[in-house]
């Protein structure tokens, strides 16, 4: 009888634990279903005072300074990068391949930012910039404009770049 009672108690504890786990999960799911209509209430900050904008600028500086580790640190692990007709689907892919070519290229050129707009929307931000590239690379004169779009996500208080689209 005592054995049965203990067995029942154990089953009861197990079910309660599982129920609590499901309740916790259901709270997460419910949060996702809420409809966000509060866009107008949110701040839209200019680039120099925006923390996301500072991250974009620091990322640019790290690339230009040939600092692979620092530049990699600003990218989300699963970042998707469109550049020069190809796509890279992780920070490691980019850091181990095209980032090095970008660093070599930009190290030879003068880069002037013509425009840079950053908008923060809660834990998400997007950045749009236009740059002028001048100089010489591999014996060829460079005089072009570069366009950049980015999506940044704030996780654990840090902005990470989740998507980059570069074009000329």
């Amino acid at each position: 009888m005592r054995k049965d009672r203990n067995k029942m108690k154990n089953i009861s504890i197990m079910l309660t634990t599982v129920s609590l786990m499901f309740l916790t999960m259901s709270n997460v799911v419910t949060a996702h279903t809420s409809d966000g209509n509060s866009a107008n209430k949110r701040d839209e900050l200019p680039v120099l005072t925006s923390s996301a904008g500072k991250v974009v600028m620091q990322f640019h500086q790290a690339i230009q300074a040939n600092d692979k580790s620092k530049a990699r640190g600003f990218l989300a692990d699963n970042v998707i990068i469109y550049e020069g007709g190809r796509v890279e689907r992780s920070a490691d892919d980019y850091a181990n391949h095209h980032m090095l070519a970008d660093m070599k290229y930009l190290a030879q050129l003068e880069v002037k930012i013509l425009e840079h707009e950053v908008r923060e929307v809660g834990q998400t931000a997007f950045s749009m910039s236009r740059t002028k590239l001048t100089g010489e690379f591999k014996g060829k004169e460079v005089n072009s404009e570069g366009m950049e779009s980015m999506v940044l996500l704030k996780k654990d208080g840090k902005w990470k770049i989740a998507h980059i689209h570069w074009s000329h």
């Binding site: 029942m8 089953i11 009861s12 079910l15 599982v18 129920s19 499901f22 309740l23 999960m25 259901s26 799911v29 419910t30 949060a31 996702h32 279903t33 809420s34 409809d35 966000g36 209509n37 509060s38 866009a39 107008n40 998707i80 469109y82 007709g85 796509v87 425009e115 707009e117 908008r119 929307v121 809660g122 834990q123 998400t124 997007f126 749009m128 236009r130 072009s144 404009e145 366009m147 779009s149 999506v151 996500l153 989740a162 998507h163 689209h165 570069w166 074009s167 000329h168």
Partner: protein
């Protein structure tokens, strides 16, 4: 014990219903975004500015990037790019494939969509045809229950 099990089963069913509702909601939002992309395709192909005016959020600082250039503001995009193409091109065929939509933020009111693009057309004046492939980025915000485009970036190269 039976009462407890019954309560537990009821709880599981209600949780499943909430999860199902979440999936429906996400699918509904994805469909809404894909519908906006389809209307943009129609707008480009027909030189029609209306789908852009309906689905884009016009704001100070808005930028739409394409082929190394940009249009600043919705009026510039529609009046200097979309509508003039109706007269400049004999035809324009645009396709978006491999569309991926990512929802962000606690309330999922921001989304970014990416797609592979293929653009074919014929220039009236020169008679030249073009065939390009590339990538497209769309950024969206949900405003008053509707998904609005806040930024686009398109890049393409000749399809060789």
């Amino acid at each position: 014990m039976r009462k407890f099990i019954a309560t537990f089963i009821a709880l599981i069913i209600s949780i499943s219903a909430v999860a199902h509702d979440d999936r429906d909601h996400s699918n509904k939002d994805k469909k809404a975004i894909v519908d906006v992309i389809k209307s943009i395709k129609y707008g480009w192909e027909n030189g029609d500015g209306l789908p852009f005016r309906r689905n884009f959020l016009d704001f100070e600082g808005a930028r739409y990037i394409e082929g190394g250039g940009q249009n600043a503001g919705l009026d510039s995009l529609v009046e200097h790019h979309v509508e003039p193409e109706k007269d400049a091109l004999e035809y324009l065929k645009l396709s978006f494939s491999e569309i991926e939509v990512h929802f962000e933020g606690e309330d999922k009111s921001f989304a970014w969509a990416i797609a592979d693009t293929r653009i074919k057309g014929k220039v009236n004046k020169s008679g030249k045809t073009f065939d390009k492939k590339g990538f497209q980025t769309f950024l969206f915000r949900k405003v008053n229950g509707n998904w609005k485009v806040v930024h686009t970036h398109s890049s393409s190269r000749d399809n060789k």
